[in-house]
């Protein structure tokens, strides 16, 4: 994946993608089968009215970023069928990996100290996530 993290103030997918790109990627994850640009525009325009040309441009950008894959169909006029290349979990992992990897590479000791500090007194929500992670680890070890 070729992601540039340019929007540190935005949350969720918008952290790594533009608003419309994030919307498009969500649609692809929800869709059962590969979608053409026109099908895509029909779906997306329910929530947000955009031109087909815009959808085509956005999906092309996602393709260049390596997030979606596409297949060229010649029948009925040449067009692409787009599908997601990564799952939501894989995408988020790649983003976190990208950020944390950069930090660990550039400021190793500070980053490690920061993480250790955070883990020492986690917030309730963090504690829940950590609990789930530990449980997963234990069940993996037991099996």
């Amino acid at each position: 994946m070729n992601l540039r993290l340019l929007r540190p103030r935005r949350r969720d997918l918008q952290f790594a993608l533009g608003d419309l790109e994030a919307l498009a990627l969500r649609q692809l994850w929800n869709a059962a089968e590969p979608l053409s640009v026109r099908e895509f525009q029909a779906r997306i325009s329910k929530t947000r009215p955009v031109a087909v040309t815009t959808v085509a441009t956005i999906l092309d950008r996602l393709h260049r970023k390596g997030v979606v894959s596409r297949e060229l169909v010649k029948r009925g006029g040449p067009h692409y069928l787009y599908s997601a290349k990564v799952t939501e979990a894989e995408f988020k992992e790649a983003v976190v990996n990208n950020v944390m990897g950069t930090l660990l590479h550039s400021f190793n000791d500070v980053t490690v100290a920061y993480l250790a500090d955070k883990m020492a007194g986690p917030r309730p929500s963090d504690r829940r996530v950590l609990g789930r992670y530990l449980k997963k680890l234990r069940s993996g070890a037991g099996a």
């Binding site: 419309l20 040309t53 815009t54 085509a56 441009t57 092309d60 060229l72 067009h79």
Partner: protein, 312 residues
């Protein structure tokens, strides 16, 4: 002030004229390197470089006496006094010098455009793009449009890209019309035909010649600020004219207006900007005053011009 300005010009003159007078042994070395490159590598790029290099050296060599006779260095001393006539004379000399340099540049640019660039293949000009064969319907539509415009039909190819784009360029001494899959899948058949007609209109109006002349004029007059406004103005005028011709070719501006408005909507999300090609529409980030430096007119201005055509 007058003490400072001439000094500035002397420095500027030396910066510009100095490199134009290379020493003979350097010329011999560079020429030998080019010839060697030409003999060893028979690929096209090296031959072009060698040809242009030798040509440039020949021209520079031939003009050396001219440049010497200008003898900017001798003009130097009196400029540091309030010698107004000397100052004016220097300005004129500088102008002459810059024009000579510009003319040399124009010759090189003309040779490059005429013999170098136009003989490259499309795939070589855009190594990052993948080109496919165009579908039969598109080729037929281009042939029909070319027939009605009474121009030779260009080669047609399909760009493997999802971003809507269409452009024409001269490649391998033939005109090639390229259209992206993104354009085909996001516009309907009428609108695609309008885009093709716009590109054919560029051929009919001899826009490659106009662009060539505008570029050469810009290079030749590079020292004149006006030349930087002239070239984009020519480009924009040709673009409006191509829209007009296209509307006549397809019998009315409606399809072109709807195609342009659709392309305009996605423009802010990035339109492929292919340099050195006559594009359907380009990403224009400039606004206000800086529009006069843009080579492509505003989509909204183009739509307005077509709408006026509809009402008149």
């Amino acid at each position: 002030m007058i003490h400072f300005v001439p000094r500035f010009f002397i420095v500027l003159t030396w910066v510009l004229i100095g490199p134009a007078m290379p020493r003979p042994e350097i010329i011999a070395f560079v020429a030998a390197a080019f010839v060697l490159a030409m003999v060893l590598k028979r690929s096209f790029r090296y031959r072009t470089i060698a040809f242009l290099g030798i040509l440039a050296i020949m021209v520079f060599q031939g003009l050396q006496p001219v440049l010497r006779s200008l003898s900017f260095a001798e003009l130097g001393p009196h400029l540091f006094h309030d010698d107004v006539w000397g100052f004016l004379r220097t300005l004129v000399m500088l102008d002459v010098g810059l024009t000579i340099i510009g003319a040399l540049g124009a010759v090189c640019a003309a040779v490059y455009i005429g013999f170098g660039r136009s003989r490259m293949s499309v795939a070589r000009m855009f190594p990052e793009l993948r080109f496919l064969d165009a579908p039969k319907e598109i080729q037929k539509a281009v042939c029909n449009l070319a027939d009605s415009a009474r121009v030779q039909a260009p080669d047609v190819c399909l760009i493997d890209s999802g971003t809507p784009a269409a452009f024409t360029l001269r490649a391998k001494r033939k005109y090639t019309l390229a259209i992206s899959i993104g354009l085909l899948e996001s516009l309907d058949a009428k609108e695609v035909e309008a885009c093709l007609a716009h590109e054919i209109a560029h051929l009919k109006n001899n826009d490659f010649t106009w662009r060539f002349l505008a570029t050469i004029a810009k290079v030749a007059l590079f020292a004149k600020p006006l030349s930087y406004l002239l070239e984009p103005a020519v480009y924009r005028a040709r673009e409006f004219l191509a829209d007009r011709t296209a509307a006549i070719l397809i019998g009315g501006p409606n399809a072109l207006i709807s195609a342009l408005s659709k392309l305009g909507e996605s423009q802010s999300y990035g339109t492929a900007a292919y340099s050195d090609a006559v594009c359907m529409c380009q990403l224009s980030t400039s606004n206000g005053f800086f529009k006069i430096l843009g080579k492509h007119p505003d989509i909204s201005a183009r739509i307005r011009a077509l709408q006026e055509m509809r009402t008149s």
